[in-house]
Amino acid sequence: MFDSNFAIQSFPKILAVAPMTIYLSIIAAIIGLILAVLIAVVRERKVPVLSPIIGIIVSFIRGTPIIVQMYVVYYGLPQLLIALQKWGISTNSSGVPAIMVAITAYSLNAASNISESIRSAYHSVDYKQYEAAISVGMTPVKAMTRIIVPQLIANLIPNFSNIFIDLIKDTALVYNIGIVEIMAKANIISSVGFKYIETYLDALIIYIIICWIFAKLFQISEVIIRRRVFATQRIN
């Protein structure tokens, strides 16, 4: 029943689209990180009106399955663009590529998760470090960038690593909107003969390896950063 030849032949074909999975995850992580910083700043500074609104949006995004979000964006984005057209803003509603939908959904998702992690990493930096900085005459901005942020980054890495690995795994759903990444390729190759077990096993192995590599990379970078930032492996 298990066609090991087919499994072996399919492996390189599926591996060939792994860059799509990684690309999607990295783009979503980068955009997510940028948005997350903005969100964290707005939320921490308690910017009136904006802060509670963003709080609700973040809660909503964190509280709903990504596949549902993806469909909402998939079906909602074109309608939004059509609506914008009616308002006289020129958009091309028919031209929203699936990859844009995926990046939008996954970036928003990453942004809300990362923003929470940034906030908790920020709170885990000893507040007195900030006071020490301004007491030697630094401006608040300098105190943040020179003292708080480097320490925050070291605290952030473990959580960020988890979020990124979840992101890689979650992209296994984007085949639903027609993006050819690992799962989609596995499905496509399988459909010819309706043989799925082989390709899914290939996909599983590829996912495990990718996740393992990234987990290790983050682990190493945490050790390096901790050593650079604090000259210790762990802060007390």
Binding site: K128, A132, S135, T139, I147, Q151, V229, I235
Partner: protein, 247 residues
């Protein structure tokens, strides 16, 4: 007068922590503040360099008149750049080496060139005999070493006043001496200091003036021998006897 504080008041929620403090300090004076835990000593220091914002009161510092309830950002920065603080738990920047801890304030607080700053920092480290530790991170230093660097970090800025908040109370007893020694050196060089401490022998030997603080008020002030040997107030007496370790 270098510093003159008038009717400084500070509340947290509905807890009035400072109930109208008046305190004047001449250049070169060493003022030691003693008093029970929770009486507001730390809060007073934090209000002097604006880590905390007072509710009302005025301050004259270096002939500049300041309304404590309404300070501009420039005024805050100006005061911070002419005062310095030494913390109970050292608070060295954990992500900076010993020498960087000292140079950061020179570079980013006083806009000196990096080269100058490092040179000054080196000299300052040398003066407390810790030059060989210049590239160590705080986590690699003992408490006593950290605190002595904390003091250097403050004094290298050449501040008009240095504020000390229980600088030795987190230290092992045999290490306390080294830090107090550095502080005495400073005092002997004419540095103006406000020191919150429980080290009565330091207060007795080094202070020009002792202030006894309780419940957010100055209860008694005078020379060390006035306050320690002839306390006028009942609460002062009570506090001194609790500290005096007899049971």
């Amino acid at each position: 007068m270098l510093l003159e504080i008038k009717s400084l008041k500070k509340k947290f929620a509905n807890n009035t922590v400072l109930k109208g403090i008046n305190l004047s300090i001449k250049a070169g004076e060493v003022v030691v503040i003693i008093g029970p835990s929770g009486s507001g000593k730390t809060t007073l220091l934090r209000n002097i360099n604006f880590l905390e914002q007072a509710d009302s009161g005025t301050m004259v510092f270096k002939d500049k008149q300041l309304n404590l309830a309404n300070l501009s950002n420039e005024e805050i920065l100006w005061v911070r750049r002419h005062t310095a603080m030494v913390f109970q738990n050292y608070n060295l920047f954990k992500n900076k080496t010993a020498i960087e801890n000292i140079s950061e304030g020179l570079i980013f607080g006083q806009n000196r060139s990096k080269k100058d700053a490092l040179q000054l920092a080196k000299k300052a480290l040398d003066s407390v005999g810790l030059l060989d530790k210049q590239d160590f991170y705080p986590a690699q230093l003992s408490g006593g070493q950290q605190q002595r660097i904390g003091i250097v970090r403050a004094t290298v800025l050449n501040p008009d006043i240095v504020l000390f908040d229980e600088p030795t109370s987190a230290l092992d007893p045999e290490l306390v001496g080294t830090v107090l020694y550095d502080m005495k050196q400073l005092a002997d060089q004419g540095q103006t200091m406000i020191v919150v401490t429980h080290q009565m022998s330091f207060a007795r030997n080094v202070a020009s003036r002792v202030v006894f603080f309780a419940d957010g008020e100055i209860i008694e002030t005078g020379t060390p021998s006035e306050v320690f040997d002839h306390p006028k107030n009942k609460r002062t007496k009570q506090f001194l006897s609790a500290i005096a370790e007899d049971y």
